[in-house]
């Protein structure tokens, strides 16, 4: 594979996929440990109504209003879940189920009702994203990486995803100790004076930011997969949180790279002519990694659990 073909066509989608995978896997570690893994699922569903409402208000498919709409929708969803849980004394799983399905249904309905036929906005796109189309047209080869003119033509998604990754990493790095403490022993963290409720909400919001940014580029299915599969697989590899984070990043990167190339080139090796969905393939590979970890991971069992 030479640079003239690789850099314009594959480099940017690959990088976006990798950034998205890592940006979701990092907060995913904490969500999995806090047994809130399905928050990612809920957020990725409610992003749709947020985006549609933003489109209806502004009338254009521009990025920032949609990102804001999606972020607002995820905060509304988290608030609604909490409200239903507290007001109705409903268990969290069911409260979540009620909220995200209803909001998703509302999003679909709004989308079908509004005149979006002229713009690129549909449910399928929201689900599987469009990773393959994020190509870098101005590049001619590796040398373009040093060419400011060509660099100016980088897809916006790449820059946005990179920024999101930096924000997510900074959050986890800055709040490392409180996050770790409150995840493993919330009561103890509270006796030390930490505002665990605020911290938990901040974690969910950071996850939502990652989800929304990734959603824009790669669709919601990859978001859910990356929130859960790499951290879950990493959880089966080690007992230390630091190592778990490292493993999850490695797994996320492996899934993104392998998934992207299998989707792009796998069918051709098998004799078919068209590539398959990269987002779907990345999710599939992450599942395979999880399966391997579940069969062979050194820490896959519950320690101290009775052998059933």
């Amino acid at each position: 594979m030479n640079g003239e073909e690789f850099v314009p066509l594959s480099l940017t989608p690959l990088l976006i996929g990798m950034f998205a995978a890592v940006a979701c896997a990092l907060p995913g570690n904490f969500l999995v440990l806090r047994k809130q893994a399905l928050i990612g699922d809920a957020i990725s569903h409610v992003v749709l109504p947020g985006i549609v409402v933003a489109f209806l208000i502004t009338g254009t498919v521009s990025t920032w209003p949609m990102m804001i709409g999606a972020a607002v929708a995820s905060i509304v969803a988290v608030g609604l879940i909490e409200a239903i849980r507290k007001l109705g004394r409903i268990e969290p799983g069911a409260a979540m189920g009620v909220t995200f399905t209803s909001m998703f249904a509302a999003g679909v309905l709004l989308l079908e009702q509004s005149d979006t036929s002229t713009v690129h906005l549909d449910v399928e796109h929201a689900l599987y994203g469009n990773l393959e189309s994020l190509i870098w047209l101005d590049a001619v080869g590796w040398q373009s990486l040093w060419d400011p003119v060509a660099l100016a033509g980088l897809p916006n998604e790449l820059i946005r995803m990179g920024l999101t990754l930096i924000v997510v990493t900074a959050f986890i790095w800055l709040f490392w100790r409180p996050l770790k403490l409150s995840t493993f022993d919330e009561g103890f963290a509270r006796t030390l004076g930490m505002r665990t409720g605020v911290l938990g909400l901040a974690l969910v919001i950071v996850a939502a930011v990652a989800a929304v940014a990734a959603f824009d580029a790669v669709g919601s299915i990859i978001v859910i997969a990356m929130f859960i599969c790499p951290p879950a697989a990493a959880r089966l590899m080690t007992n230390r949180l630091e190592l778990q984070i490292v493993w999850s990043v490695v797994f996320a990167l492996v899934a993104a790279i392998l998934g992207y190339f299998t989707a792009g080139y796998g069918p051709m090796w098998l004799g078919a002519e068209n590539a398959v969905s990269a987002a779907g393939m990345i999710a599939t590979i992450s599942g395979l990694i999880l399966a391997l970890a579940a069969f062979f991971g050194p820490c896959r069992k519950r320690t101290g659990a009775p052998v059933a």
């Binding site: 799983g93 069911a94 399905t101 209803s102 879950a232 078919a272 599942g287 069992k301």
Partner: protein, 401 residues
């Protein structure tokens, strides 16, 4: 137009869809009840997403054997097999590894769905033109529903309903107290499997109408709404079935009346409105009832404190207390008690003293446990007991007889 739709006057297809959706709603609501009571509602999310690769594989298989790729029974069979496999993965991951159930659910749903998407893109490239319709399984499509499809859905719904009715007692027992159920000789694992299997059946049957993303809503929302109205399992099941059926019927009718409106989302939103009504207006468990209960309690506390203040001749600064007293005719606006008010205040003060005696005396231990500062003493003790206490307290002191 709407009335026509509600009374099935909009033609053959609309009628089929409406009746099918109603059947589906009833069986989803009834099945979902046990899932909800077992606190495993979101397992249905994993099940429903796991159907996608099965649908796609079934399509590929049927086409490669030269058959008609869109045969509904074949597709549903494929979806059932892959959903079953997904279910096995969830329970295996939860039991055999240290992962919690929510992580297992999320992993299974995203991976299976992702793989399904991969297969869908394979189908798109292998036989363009003939793949049309598989995307309909994502959000449901009722436009081209055939009589045979409706029969499949109705039969599937009826069979699920029959199984639920047959197993409702053991399933309810397992949902509430698995240990107790096990000690009664029930095979908890098998009953759980039946609950999950039923949820899977409903999901598979509902794929065609509401699609795999929204079928979860039909399994979760009606039971959650029903739970507000009653505390009895059989009634929750019944109400969930009825609300599920009503939302299916009304939703399908609405979408038939306005053809641009997709059926699945409308059914979900109708269902959500019923949920919202239940959340706010259900007696006892609803938000409104809770607010009323709180206000009533608040009024009782203020009334009691106000009466005690009147009895001891203390001024009342609290506005709500004053308002309650004047409205009941117990005090004038300037805080001076009326005749009635003086009598009630004296009674309140005496009751307070009576309670004091009761709580100090070991023989009244049972009654003393009920003391909360508001309870009328007459509801706890007999007249004779109160008389005995009054003898101990003695008459008013310093008041000429």
């Amino acid at each position: 137009m709407l009335w026509d739709a509600l009374f099935l006057q909009l033609g053959y297809n609309a009628t089929l869809v409406t009746i099918g959706a109603c059947f589906l709603g009833v069986s989803a609501g009834v099945t979902g009840t046990f899932l909800f009571l077992r606190k495993r509602s979101l397992v249905s999310d994993a099940i429903s997403h796991a159907t996608l690769p099965g649908v796609a594989l079934a399509f590929i298989l049927m086409v490669s054997f030269g058959g008609e790729g869109r045969n509904l029974i074949g597709l549903l069979l494929g979806s059932a097999i892959s959903a079953g496999f997904g279910l096995l993965c969830v329970s295996w991951l939860t039991r055999q590894t240290r992962l919690a159930e929510d992580a297992a659910i999320g992993a299974v749903l995203s991976v299976f769905f992702g793989f399904g998407i991969v297969l869908l893109t394979v189908i798109q490239s292998m036989s363009s033109g003939r793949q049309a319709g598989l995307e309909g399984f994502l959000l449901g499509s009722t436009a081209g529903m055939l009589w045979s499809d409706a029969i499949v859905i109705a039969l599937g719904g009826a069979v699920t309903l029959a199984i639920v009715l047959a197993y409702r007692r053991p399933m309810g027992m397992v949902a509430f107290d698995p240990e107790f159920a096990a000690s009664n000789g029930l095979n908890v694992g098998r009953i759980d499997l039946i609950i999950m299997g039923l949820a899977m059946a409903v999901t598979v049957v509902g794929l065609k109408i509401v699609g795999l993303i929204l079928i979860v809503a039909m399994l979760i929302i009606p039971p959650v709404s029903a739970r507000f109205w009653t505390d009895r399992t059989d009634r929750v099941t019944l109400i969930a079935g009825v609300t599920g059926g009503v939302s299916g019927y009304v939703g399908a009718a609405l979408s038939a009346a306005a053809p641009a409106v997709p059926t699945g989302p409308i059914i979900v939103l109708v269902s959500f409105s019923i949920f919202a009504i239940s959340l706010f207006f259900a007696p006892n468990r609803g938000v409104l009832a809770a607010v009323m209960r709180h206000l009533r309690f608040q009024r009782r506390v203020h009334m009691r404190q106000g009466l005690l203040a009147l009895a001891q001749g203390q001024p009342i600064y609290e506005k709500l207390t004053m308002r309650l007293l004047t409205r009941a005719g117990l005090a004038r606006a300037d805080g001076v008690p009326t005749q009635d008010g003086r009598a009630r205040a004296a009674k309140a003060l005496r009751d307070e003293k009576r309670w004091e005696v009761v709580r100090a005396d070991q023989t009244f231990e049972g009654a003393a446990a009920l003391y909360d500062g508001l309870r009328e003493i007459e509801t706890v003790l007999t007249e004779d007991q109160i008389g005995e206490i009054d003898r101990r307290i003695g008459g008013p002191i310093g008041v000429p007889t």
